[in-house]
């Protein structure tokens, strides 16, 4: 089961169907079960039963989540793969020592792959949908796997399966979410 985390400003908001719903449909199509939680409803110990976690995006005006860094501390000890999308990438970076900087992109943008990555479309470049008013200075040691003319577009932890994408893969880049789902499946031969 994959946990989808809603980062919108309140549970069950009008943004939920725009930012959680489309990701949920890709996860379902990939054959995975999912459930969703609002970020403020997740216990300090983190979710117990997920095989993977996707932190979903928010509306352009909605940076409420960034006022609650303590609500994401559990991510430091996450023992399953995590994918942060847009606001989710920002939360993931913040909790691991990164920082946010103003950077607005709206609409289709060319993303350059700077480091081959299991989740990203094939390089050297692909088109992706952007909707953000802040971008990330990645945490120390994290690998930048893609950039646009404006900001870092994708990062990953050097050792653990923690990924962030600034673009919205649920729009025209379903493959990112599909590959993440594959990564969360128990591998043949593993305990």
């Amino acid at each position: 089961m994959i946990l989808l985390v809603d980062l919108s400003w309140k549970p069950g908001s009008l943004s939920r169907d725009e930012f959680v719903g489309p990701v949920a449909r890709i996860v379902s199509r990939a054959g995975e079960e999912w459930r969703e939680e609002h970020f403020l409803a997740i216990p300090e110990t983190g979710p117990a039963d997920a095989c993977g976690i996707i932190l979903c995006g928010t509306a352009l005006s909605d940076n409420f989540f960034s006022e609650y860094p303590e609500a994401f501390l559990w991510l430091r000890n996450a023992s399953v793969p995590v994918l942060g999308i847009c606001a989710g990438m920002q939360a993931l970076c913040l909790v691991h020592g990164g920082a946010l900087c103003p950077a607005c992109e709206i609409g289709m943008t060319t993303v350059q792959v700077t480091h081959p990555d299991t989740l990203l479309p094939k390089g050297p470049a692909f088109e992706a949908y952007e909707l953000h008013s802040f971008a990330c200075n990645p945490p120390p040691g994290w690998i930048v796997t893609a950039v646009s003319d404006h900001c870092v577009q994708a990062v990953r932890h050097p050792d653990r399966p923690l990924f962030g994408v600034m673009f919205h893969p649920e729009v025209r880049n379903d493959v990112v979410v599909e590959r993440f789902c594959s990564l969360c499946r128990p591998q043949a031969g593993s305990p």
Partner: protein, 226 residues
Amino acid sequence: MKLGVLCSGGKDSWYACYRAREKEEVACLISVRSKNESSYMFHTPNTHLVPLQAEAAGLPLVTVETAGEKEAELADLACAIRTAMVQYGIEGVVTGALLSVYQATRVQRICRDLGLWCFNPLWYTDPDTYMADLIAAGFRVVITGVFAAPFSADWLGREIDADALVDLRKYVRSHRITLTGEGGEYETLVLDAPLFSRRIAIEKAEKEYANYRGFFRVTQASLEAK
């Protein structure tokens, strides 16, 4: 949060309005009447009926006319949204965008420039679920324009009910239309919705059709009790 809903009179904008009203306060509708029937941004066949729909829903309406030229129509839309901010204190805009990155991007940019929230509650929704929900929720929707094969003249004015949905699903398979008409294959007009206190009765309409392209233009309509 006070919201203004962009309204073309078709099913997507009214369903988005319905969803918005479940969560927040819809303070007004915002309608752009384009003189260009090929507008990239705005649906055109029956926008003159939006005032009647607004009356049925008991919602104030901000209307702006545009010549429908590509970038000028965006300035006209921004002007209408700004008017809604001043008159009704809206803090955000709701659209019925389903898949159109072109439309969504442009409305998002206008909202950013005006410091407004932007909501797209039907964004990348599942087409089958959406169309079934629309009918189940009590929306009465008729087709007011067809622009693709294999739509015949019989579709002009046809209600999207369960039977029509079966036919549309066949066309999805046989002609690769989008079920929702998002690809511009057809346009719609909402005659009744759960948030209407009265419904629209079409009294006179004209059909025009040739080569899989046609219009159902309502020339006279009124409100009747539900």
